[in-house]
Symmetry: C2
Subunit: 249 residues, 2 copies
Amino acid sequence: MQASGSKQLHSKAPIVTVDVVLLTLKDEQLCAALLQRPREPHAGEWTLPGGFVHTDEDEDTLAAAARILSTKVGIESPYLEQLQTFSGPHRDPRGWSVAIVYYALVPHDSVPGEAPAPRAEHAPATVLSIAAPPRLKWRPVDDIRSLPFDHLQILRTAVERVRSKTLYSSLPVHLMSATFTLSELQAVYEALLGTRLDKRGFRRRIEELDVVEEAPGAPVRGAHRPAQRYRMKRHGAQRLAVSPKNLTL
Amino acid sequence: MQASGSKQLHSKAPIVTVDVVLLTLKDEQLCAALLQRPREPHAGEWTLPGGFVHTDEDEDTLAAAARILSTKVGIESPYLEQLQTFSGPHRDPRGWSVAIVYYALVPHDSVPGEAPAPRAEHAPATVLSIAAPPRLKWRPVDDIRSLPFDHLQILRTAVERVRSKTLYSSLPVHLMSATFTLSELQAVYEALLGTRLDKRGFRRRIEELDVVEEAPGAPVRGAHRPAQRYRMKRHGAQRLAVSPKNLTL
DNA sequence: TTAATAGTGTCTGTCAGACACTATGTG
DNA sequence: CACATAGTGTCTGACAGACACTATTAA
């Protein structure tokens, strides 16, 4: 037994883990981060990043999720939000378990690659997990057909949430690099939704949401007419702008 | 320690509870159910219904929430949905804790009153906590200024969620009796939103949502023109209809 | 008939979708 | 110049908000 030494004599306490669905956009495809498990159960298989709560250092499960991303994937302060809690006697072979699940969005260019040891090209910051290097890979979410535990269901739930929020919010800006053009942003929305969007309507909408602003510096000088660079507005920490137009009865 | 006897030597496992924000509408006011705690911590104080997961009988935390409502409040199969999971080292004096929180909506006429001992009508199953019968009361949510643990924050989050969903969904039908008139339903929406709504627009909207149907039987013969009775459509179990109009980018 | 509530018809301003247009760069 | 991408102007059908109207009961 554990902390509550007096009352719960009937049943064992559940196992508690925190899992993270880490998503990015790569070649117009939404991809999820998978780690190869170093230990049983399901040793050697690819799963969502996860781990136990460290009650001696984590302030809450959000902090635990951030720690797991930092430690096991080498990603710092991404957009991170609680998804849902999954539970049951069979989802983990070790017994009755609870998984508090978060989802995270990161721009593709701030992400460690697929090497057993992280590539040198990106992520110059020290990656602490070098000692027991977890293998990392990114897989398009629509290609993932099975995962250990109930991680496939968790992944599907997270993807559904992200796609759904894309319809009425500015969530996808968290998939963009530090600066980006509106055309790039539109391409990201289109990739997530699997639809073409009208340029005029898209720009009207983004402007209403009021979450991006012109970034200083030179415009993008591509093959043709240069494009204005934009960046995310930082209101407070990481607020989600939802169109007020969609909230009318 | 617990099931995972090998890896987590660093920190104690968190305490896991399931709490429920149980809401109903009474005299045009949204009210929450509060129970008087029979035990420490906060013995004698009024809190949200809650309890431990019984890993030997609960299929998941949703089932645990349903069991807690049935056992401790005497309410069977209400609308029940996961709200959010709260966690941290300080929210419960017993230690680092996780609360998986659900919210439930019930029609006012299917609800036990404020009696000291629970009525005999429900909960025929053995109630283990009969020794110290939990007292129940209903308080308007806007009058509740403080609660033990972090239950005030939890309550506020649930109320915000319900009011927000009222704007674009049919959630409030779960606050209605078995049959009801459209005027009554509109009054409930108005009470939740604190706004007057246009009758024509309201009826258009409810029709689009396609969640109510005409109920058989005599119309309501009140003081004046009789009104058609309606009832909730049962699609599957308890689906939530969201207006598709609000999901356009 | 009056009062009160149930329920419908319909006008209108607003806005999203559509699409044509201009602007500005490269080669 | 042709071409490609960036960015804007603007028309129009649909629809939500508003509100007047009819319908049906009791007293």
